[in-house]
């Protein structure tokens, strides 16, 4: 499992899930919030990194669920159910066309609900260069 993360994700999201300031959103303590806003569950598995990962549906499903549990267990919706292989398979046929727009909408919704402080979007709080 970790190897799939290492090969496909950690170059940008980093081994500790802290991302890169301004370019790569952090996963740690953040990514699970998407499961708490309408449309967020769908968004998470339609972003380019997931849709075009060079992994089959089964391994990708395991990886996405592992990533959420490992880096953001506290932020997950209380009624969160792990993604199913079928869900991932269908999502990969519908890549998001406007990732930035949809992300901005979901972030604004998180802020409106008080899940995120104003100005915080997972990018400004990502790891800064040393």
């Amino acid at each position: 499992m970790l190897e799939d993360y290492a090969r496909n994700c950690q170059g940008c999201h980093r081994a500790d899930g802290t991302g890169a300031f301004g370019s790569v959103p952090r996963l740690r303590g953040f990514v699970g919030l998407f499961t708490r806003v309408p449309g967020g569950r769908d968004y998470l598995i339609r972003v380019p990194g997931v849709v075009w990962a060079m992994l089959d549906d089964t391994r990708l499903t395991r990886l996405v669920n592992w990533m959420l549990r490992t880096y953001s267990p506290e932020e997950l919706a209380p009624d969160f159910r792990p993604y199913t292989v079928d869900e991932i398979r269908r999502a990969r046929r519908r890549p998001l066309a406007g990732v930035a727009t949809e992300r901005a909408r979901l972030i604004a919704e998180m802020q409106r609900r008080g899940l995120l402080p104003p100005g915080e979007d997972g990018l400004v709080s990502a790891r800064r260069a040393p």
Binding site: R7, G11, G22, S23, V24, A129
Partner: protein, 177 residues
Amino acid sequence: MREPSLLDRLVERVTRRVAQKSSRRGFLARLGATVVGGVMLPLLPVDRSGRLRRAHAQAFAEQAQTRDDTACNYWRYCAMDGYLCTCCNGGVAECPPGSEPSPTSWVGSCINPDDGQVYLIAYRDCCGKGVCGRCPCLSTEGEMPVYRPQLSNDIDWCFGAKSMVYHCTTAGLVGRA
């Protein structure tokens, strides 16, 4: 004239029937489909990528060495595209003074010829200082085109660093694959 033999008559009948019922184009089309199909079949998605990748990595490993990290055939450089930081006052995994490591890297895998094992390698650019220009290396193991940027080594990997100016590239060990 001698009566045609049984074999002659049989062959003639079959030949005439084939000639009447089939077209040469149809035959060519079927032959083409068979030939191309035979070639394409192994390319159908049956997870050959792992084996292919391994085969390519093997080819690099066969001429790789583990002693001189300032040479392009040093084992960790199987997917290196850039200037070696080891030739620019840095280390195989350390940026030279005056440059900063990019927080992002792309992860490939190389075989260590000493133990034959596959290791994950993080290719991390050092940024914020003018281009070094020494020891340019271009290896392509596992590399993808720039429209798959997370696995492309052609692009500037200084995302997230304070400066996008590229200096050189390191090859840090992530772990055993």
